[in-house]
């Protein structure tokens, strides 16, 4: 195992400040950094010695031998569940990284805790596997969450296609009147926070609104697991579940890893999964839609859900390309990066009509995730600007709309996830063939 690098910013908010120095010995669970503003405590994920404290990270040389036991968190009142969650440094583990102690600290006045178990990014498996294998502790996490935030209902939002997990959950909640299951269709994106609210509660929030506007919080299912661990075992948040998948020796099946120490390098994870089958295109940290390209020495964080090694990119030989940027996929920078890797030349950039900046400069959000506002005009723009190819970063519904006009205009269409989908043997995002409607379980049970 190589050095562990623990980033000081693994969450929404300001970077944490290190409270250890080079040479300090640390254990699993030793607090090593604390927030300077909005943020969450950061703990060592290994036994070892602090080698360096850099501006953005703490580097720890791990001991040869790693014990299971850890330093438990300490709070004034051991029965104060919210204090335990805050002290444990838990953040939204679905990828957003919002400090959980802040999120569930609001009074929902009898409202809803919505469990985001959509696992919407194709290729990822660890959320569903957790629900199947760690069902009880996850449900207990949900109950703690409801207790802390004064919610009267818990709704688990999960795609209907995950039949085994759904059945296990049905059995687990059948005697609890406060819990139900909401089934989601198999389209992208269902895991967007406001999509979960809309699907479960039939309320469409503005991009600037938080779920609290619907008396709800949305919590990723792994976050529930970490909440239960903090409350029951006093365990700090220093490990992460993730899926490693892609062009790996041994095949393209997903490798799910539970409780990986935060700070482990991407390279170590890939080696564990068999190593890269050369040649390859790029390595993505996160999912195919919203992930970013990364390097072998980058460390995993509290929000790393996926590591994907892709096949090589097609070569467009400098052909003119239009980019359709959407809130559902990569940012314009990411789309440009993909275009460059495909050796295309960007001649036109359009943004989906529904993709808006909630604040100037903030990441795009979709006004109505998964429901297309029409794309024909964008295609006309690309055609006018001389594009021969287009690369789109759209959701299932919008991709379908693009396919309604682009091919007829002789625009050859790529989706930004194509190289991933081809790698993992998933169908490409083009035409939509499934319905957006699914039948719900009787009474959500």
């Amino acid at each position: 195992m190589g050095n562990v690098q623990i980033l000081l910013r693994q969450h929404v908010g300001a970077p944490c400040a290190a409270i250890v120095q080079a040479g300090d010995e640390v254990k699993k669970g030793t607090k090593i950094a604390t927030p300077t503003g909005l943020g969450a405590n950061i703990f060592s994920s290994v036994y070892g010695v602090v080698e360096e404290v850099l501006e953005d990270r703490i580097v720890i040389r791990p001991d040869e031998e790693q014990k299971e036991e850890f330093v438990p968190i300490e709070v004034e009142d051991e029965n104060d569940k919210l204090a335990l969650v805050k002290e444990a440094g838990i953040v939204g583990m679905g990828g957003a990284g919002f400090p959980t102690g802040v999120k569930i600290g609001t009074d929902l006045k009898g409202g809803y805790v919505l469990v985001n178990a959509a696992e919407c990014e194709p290729g990822l498996r660890h959320n569903i596997m957790q629900l199947e294998e760690k069902t009880d502790i996850t449900i207990r996490g949900l109950k703690y969450c409801m207790e802390i935030s004064n919610a009267s209902k818990g709704i688990i939002a999960i795609k209907k296609k995950n039949e085994k997990a759904v059945q296990i959950l049905r059995d687990a909640i059948k005697d609890d009147d406060s819990l139900t299951i909401h089934l989601l269709p198999d389209i992208y994106p269902m895991g967007e926070e406001r999509a979960v609210v809309r699907e479960c509660l039939d309320k469409l929030l503005d991009p600037t609104q938080l779920p609290s506007a619907a008396d709800a919080v949305v919590i990723n299912c792994e976050t529930l697991l970490r909440i239960a661990e903090a409350i029951e075992e006093k365990k700090p948040c220093y490990s992460k579940n993730m899926t490693v998948i892609g062009k790996l020796n041994g095949g393209n099946e997903p490798h799910v890893y539970m409780d990986i120490p935060v700070g482990t390098s991407v390279g170590d994870m890939i080696e564990r999964a068999g190593g890269i089958e050369e040649p390859y295109g790029e390595i993505i940290m996160g999912g195919p839609f919203t992930g970013k390209s990364t390097t072998l020495d980058a460390p995993v964080t509290k929000t790393t859900g996926g590591i994907i090694v892709t096949i090589e990119f097609p070569d467009l030989h400098g052909a003119p390309v239009g980019l359709l940027v959407c809130a559902c996929g990569g940012s314009e920078d990411r789309m440009r990066e993909i275009c460059e890797k495909m050796n295309g030349k960007v001649v036109s950039v359009a943004r989906c009509k529904q993709a808006v900046e909630p604040k100037p400069g903030a990441a795009l959000k979709c006004e109505n995730p998964g429901n297309c506002p029409g794309q024909a005009q964008k295609c006309l723009q690309f055609k006018k600007d001389g594009a021969e190819y287009i690369i789109i970063g759209n959701c299932s519904d919008c991709s379908n709309t693009v396919m309604g006009s682009a091919p007829k205009m002789k625009l050859k269409t790529f989706h930004q996830t194509d190289h991933v989908m081809r790698t993992i043997g998933h169908s490409l995002y083009r035409r939509l063939t499934v319905s957006k409607q699914v039948d719900q379980l009787p009474n959500g049970k």
Binding site: K353, N371, C372, P373, G374, Q375, A376, Q377, K378, L380, K383, D397, C398, N400, T401, G404, S405, K408, M409, L432, S435, K436, Q437
Partner: protein, 617 residues
């Protein structure tokens, strides 16, 4: 793209087409429908066939019975519960309002037809002659996009009782004629001969660090077929009398001669961005445009060489202008001392406010991107340098001036590029829209607002929001927004429309558009546009001032704003640029006002330059 309920209402009678896949069983809403604005393009691209499509009003609220994909026209077989179509509503005839107006009759006759449909059904018959006066068809239903027919009179009826017009101030121009320009030992004017001091060039060059060289050429009509570097500016030679301030009192001006600034950088690169007007003068100047020389005038032409690489930076062109102004200033000093007996003509401009009439403001967008685009606002002397504030340094924020300040040369323009569509300093001195609005007794011109066009989008919106706020405070009934050039500046041009329009104030926009200058952005308030294009092919043809605002454009804009303020509908623009729109509107205006409009000539009247032959025509 999907439309709002509001757009759906506006397009109630257009075909209903799904913008995206929609599943069987949904209730059709506006958000499911594609914007009819792009149908023409879609039909052209073979993406859409509208045969049998129901209209938007028919399908709203109905049930979709089959899952259909994007760009599927909604026909009766996939929709259940469609509403019965209503008749397209004819716009309300403006009879009542228009009645007291002298020219009411043609307006009343035209209005019902303007937005409606003229239906002529002939079952069976022979030798049927239909004679329909063009005026009665709302300006010819074929092409009258810009101004609906019957333009004039609609607004004439003032809501309040007739009130006395109030004289605010006057400006007098005293003209002195020059028939010959010579070099001599000192700068002086003797009779109608202007002498320019020999050796003044050195002082011009020494005054500016960035100016490496400056040559003076006296161009008489006999020399018009002379090569010149790109024309950066054309300026009147004028000065204030005594203590009079710019915009009032007396201004003295020389007739028969203009200053012309031309130049390159030390590497020989023309000082221009999108095209330049270098070449033989007689092939590259659109004579008689407000900003251009008149045929027959003598040019005092400076050819300035600025430091290499500064041709596209603000200090370079500014240095060229400042150096040239040393010559103009010396002439101004002589002009101040000239004997009154040499005055050949006196004209007076009166600025009236007309209480009770519709109050209008002119917003003129001027270039302020800062690379080489700038304008000095309110110099001490007409089109001078001293005292003028660069609008880039002012942050491009709106600056209010009186119409008479505009006509007295309050703008020293440093916009020398995209020559056909940019406004030279002389343009403001003879600004046709200001003149037209100033003299129109049916409207109350309250003033002119200059607003710079910054480089960065955030700043564009910053200044346009200020424009909107000022228009709100002014309580105007209508506004003109003009711009020069095309492209980048159209972003704020559009935003000015939005900011003014969202306050319920009708706006008429004026810009070169045609083919090459087609608007890059738009919004729902950009409903009234006048195109300043004159070129044959609708392009930036690099002929100086060819596509700038002329009297014929000002007349159309004033009539259009009157119509807009009177609540008349104006037809939507055609999909592609169609020069016939302008001619039919001009005809409509002529027939209603009874006054002929002499349209200006375009580049086709000039000798063909090699550049034009190769690049354009």
């Amino acid at each position: 793209m999907s439309i709002t309920a509001e757009t759906a209402k506006a397009h109630a009678h257009d075909p209903a087409v799904l913008c995206c896949r929609a599943e069987a069983g949904i209730t059709i809403e506006a958000a499911n429908l594609e914007d009819p604005a792009i149908f023409d393009d879609l039909v052209d691209s073979g993406l859409l066939n509208l045969d049998g499509a129901l209209t938007i009003e028919e399908v709203l609220g109905a049930k979709l019975t089959k899952t259909c994909d994007s760009l599927c026209p909604l026909t009766a077989d996939v929709v259940e519960g469609a509403k019965a179509p209503s008749k397209p509503a004819a716009p309300e005839a403006a009879e009542e309002e228009a009645a007291p107006a002298p020219a009411a009759a043609p307006v009343a006759a035209a209005a019902p037809a303007a937005g409606g449909v003229l239906k002529i059904h002939i079952g069976e018959g022979k030798d049927i002659d239909l004679e329909i006066p063009v005026g009665a068809l709302g300006g010819g239903s074929a092409a009258a996009a810009e101004v609906p027919a019957g333009a004039a009179a609609a607004v004439a009826a003032a809501p309040a009782a007739e009130q006395e017009a109030k004289l605010i101030r006057s400006l007098t121009r005293k003209h002195f004629n020059i028939t010959e320009v010579k070099r001599g030992p000192e700068t002086k004017i003797e009779g109608t001969t202007l002498y320019i001091r020999e050796g003044i060039e050195k002082e011009c060059i020494d005054s500016q660090k960035l100016v490496y060289d400056l040559k003076i050429d006296i161009i008489t009509p006999a020399d018009y077929h002379t090569y010149s570097e790109t024309i950066m500016d054309v300026q009147p030679i004028a000065t204030k009398e005594g203590e009079d301030e710019l915009g009032s009192g007396v201004t003295r001006v020389l007739d028969g001669v203009v200053m012309m600034v031309t130049g390159t950088d030390a590497n020989g690169v023309q000082i221009g961005e999108f095209g330049s007007s270098e070449g033989f003068l007689d092939e590259n100047i659109m004579w008689g445009r407000p900003g251009a020389p008149e045929k027959g005038e003598i040019f005092i032409k400076t050819q300035v060489t600025v430091k290499e690489g500064t041709n596209m930076e603000r200090p370079g062109p500014l240095a060229a202008h400042t150096a040239s102004d040393i010559i103009t200033q010396e002439i101004r000093e002589c002009l101040k001392k000239l004997d009154e007996s040499l005055v050949t003509d006196t004209e007076t401009f009166d600025q009236y406010r007309r209480p009770g009439k519709k109050k209008v403001v002119i917003v003129k967008e001027i270039m302020g991107q800062g690379a080489m685009h700038d304008n000095l606002i309110l110099p001490v002397e007409p089109v001078g340098i001293l005292g003028g504030k660069p609008n880039v340094d002012l942050g491009n924020v709106p600056v209010a001036v009186s119409p008479l300040e505009v006509l007295d040369g309050c703008i020293h323009a440093l916009t020398c590029i995209g020559p056909a569509s940019k406004e030279m300093s002389r343009h403001y001195w003879r600004e046709p829209l200001v003149l037209e609005a100033l003299h129109d007794e049916e409207i109350d011109l309250c003033g002119v607002i200059f607003v710079g066009s910054p480089q960065i989008n955030a700043e564009k919106f910053y200044v346009s929001k200020r424009v909107g706020q000022i228009c709100e405070m002014l309580d105007v009934d209508g506004a003109f927004v003009t711009t020069e050039g095309f492209g980048n500046n159209h972003i704020d041009f559009a935003s000015h429309h939005e900011q003014i329009g969202m306050r319920g104030i009708p706006v008429v926009g004026m810009s070169f558009c045609a083919v090459q200058g087609a608007l890059v952005v738009g919004n729902k308030y950009m409903t009234h546009m006048v195109d300043n294009n004159k070129s044959e092919s609708g392009i930036e043809n690099e002929v100086l001032a060819c596509n700038t605002l002329c009297p014929e454009d000002a007349v159309r804009a004033v009539q259009m704003l009157k119509n807009a303020m009177g609540g008349e509908d104006v037809k939507a623009a055609e999909k592609k640029w169609n020069p016939n729109v302008k001619s039919s509107n001009v005809e409509a205006i002529e027939s209603v006002t009874g006054k002929g409009l002499n349209l200006v000539e375009n580049e086709q009247s000039l000798p063909m330059s090699q550049k034009r032959k190769e690049k354009y025509d």
